[in-house]
């Protein structure tokens, strides 16, 4: 379970990232964070992945207070979450397989575990047949699938995605979101920051709407612009 109580983030230049957020996300939930650019979606994700520390308030993840986690402990926290970005962030000189394996290599997993887990993750995202391709040789949708495989290869309980469909056409966007939904159904908590109205409207999941860093709407199920 992820809990935020009175969390605010004021940047050094006095810009407010998020303001007095109170939020609880249960294990296995599927949550959309929506809002315009600058509304605080990405700040919230960065607070969860400990790229930023909150100025005020407290964050707990699975009962552990991570508000001011020491830098040396951040890596352990991030091993419990998969992170997906809009720009995929793949290593262009590594193949699809190597990119996914890289996630296990850097957390110093054994070669045996890598050989066993990478094909499973690639199967899950439907890219087993393209494991030897370089990112430049596959489509945007497939690159994002690779990034998702890399994020889930270690079976993290939480998946954070920052605009995962931002660079994709509607068809690919739909496929990516369906893939993430399948991952969610395995029990993974999913938090997606997006301003893709069509996707949010189609999925009818929990929607947290942010404006100027504040939560203006938190619907259990709904579309992008629904009222409570």
């Amino acid at each position: 379970m992820i809990e935020l109580s009175n969390v605010s983030k004021i940047y050094d230049n006095d810009v407010t990232g998020v303001k007095e957020l109170n939020l609880t996300i249960q294990d296995g939930e599927f949550v959309f964070l929506v809002g315009e650019s600058g509304s605080g979606k990405s700040t919230l994700l960065k607070l969860l992945m400990k790229e930023l520390d909150p100025t005020e308030g407290a964050i707990t993840i699975d009962g552990e207070d991570v508000t001011h986690l020491k830098r040396k402990n951040v890596s352990a926290l991030r091993r419990r979450m998969g992170i997906v970005f809009q720009d995929y962030r793949l290593l262009t000189k590594k193949t699809v397989y190597e990119n996914v394996a890289f996630a296990l290599e850097v957390i110093e997993e054994s070669s045996r575990k890598i050989r066993r887990s990478v094909p499973l993750a690639l199967n899950m995202v439907g890219l087993a047949h393209k494991s030897k391709y370089l990112p430049g040789e596959i489509s945007g949708g497939e690159q994002q699938r690779t990034a998702i495989a890399r994020a889930i290869v270690n079976n993290p309980p939480i998946l954070l995605a920052d605009e995962p469909t931002g660079n994709l056409d509607p068809k690919n966007s739909k496929e990516i979101i369906e893939l993430i939904e399948r991952i969610n159904k395995r029990g993974t908590t999913v938090i997606i920051a997006t301003h893709d109205r069509a996707i949010v409207d189609t999925m009818q999941k929990r929607v947290i709407h942010l404006e100027k860093g504040e939560i203006v709407r938190d619907s259990e199920k709904g579309g992008y612009d629904d009222e409570d």
Binding site: A103, V106, E108, A151, N154
Partner: protein
């Protein structure tokens, strides 16, 4: 840390050097040049120290003993002095030996036959000149040693060259300080160069580092390949001037000894092995340290993700 992780870090470190081939080469070259100058400075400083030491050693102290001090007491005092740490050698010279030495010196310097002084053998004019000749390891300790001697009840007077010892001691200190300052500057330059090379390497791999941090890599895992890269650059940059100095020093000393025998008569050069005994560990330690410090400084900023 797993063996495979260490292997990966070593491989990545080597790859980094090859990836920034020219920059690595430039760094190795400049570090080698720095360490070469450092090595030369070291050779000069050590030889000057040796030279001043030799000169200091040849500055003997003559301790004249009081009238009435027996030969046994004199020999005992010489033995007592010999036992002191700063004393290289102390030898009791009896009045008879002093007279004999005088005669020999006179004959050598004036060409007079020493037989003409034989008549005085029965009535030794140097009867009161029993003395102890003392040689010290280090001219710098002369002042305190003389002070100590003057407190002895058996000592009449002490003959020594204060100015010469002071001058040698100051000169040796000056050379050491200048050498140390130069070495510090060169080490600083070497660190700066490594920092720049590794910074370039980190910059090229910043994207990869960023991903590694997001997927839960420990700082040490991210840092290690760059430290390996820095250490390898530092080590190669140390080995090259080490070899150059070995051969250069060996041949220069040999040429001086062969062609300028008057210099080698005055100046006893340290052997190449003596120089290398200190220089090789110094170079290796400096190379590794410069590599570790330089790469740690370069990557620090990029770990804050």
């Amino acid at each position: 840390m797993r063996i495979r992780t260490i292997k990966v870090c070593l491989k990545d470190g080597c790859k980094g050097i090859l990836r920034n081939g020219l920059m690595s080469l430039a760094s190795i070259g400049t570090i080698a040049a720095c360490l070469f100058i450092l090595g030369l400075t070291f050779c000069i400083v050590r030889n000057v120290q040796q030279f001043t030491n030799d000169l200091g050693n040849s500055l003997g102290i003559v301790v004249f003993l009081k009238e009435g001090v027996t030969e046994e007491q004199g020999r005992n005092l010489a033995e007592e002095l010999n036992a002191r740490d700063e004393v290289k050698g102390a030898r009791y010279i009896s009045p008879d030996e002093a007279w004999m030495n005088f005669k020999q010196t006179l004959e050598k310097e004036t060409g007079l036959n020493s037989d003409i002084l034989s008549e005085l053998d029965q009535d030794n004019p140097l009867a009161n000149c029993a003395n102890i000749e003392v040689y010290l390891y280090d001219a710098q300790s002369q002042a305190s040693f003389v002070e100590y001697l003057e407190t002895s009840s058996d000592v009449r007077s002490v003959k020594y060259s204060n100015e010469a010892a002071d001058m040698l001691s100051s000169f040796s200190k000056l050379v050491t300080y200048v050498g140390l300052a130069l070495i510090a500057i060169l080490v600083f330059i070497a660190v700066l160069l490594i920092v720049n090379t590794i910074k370039l390497s980190v910059y090229i791999r910043r994207y990869e580092i960023n991903i590694m941090k997001y997927i839960g890599a420990r700082d040490s895992f991210v840092k290690l390949p760059f430290i390996v890269e820095g250490v390898i650059i530092g080590l190669i940059g140390a080995v090259v001037p080490g070899c150059l100095i070995y051969f250069a020093y060996y041949y220069v000393v040999e040429i001086i000894n062969e062609r300028f025998s008057s210099v080698s008569y005055l100046f006893n050069f340290l052997s190449v092995n003596t120089i290398m005994q200190t220089l090789i560990p110094l170079f290796l330690i400096l190379g590794v340290l410069v590599g570790i410090i330089g790469s740690s400084i370069s990557i620090r900023k990029h770990l804050k993700v």
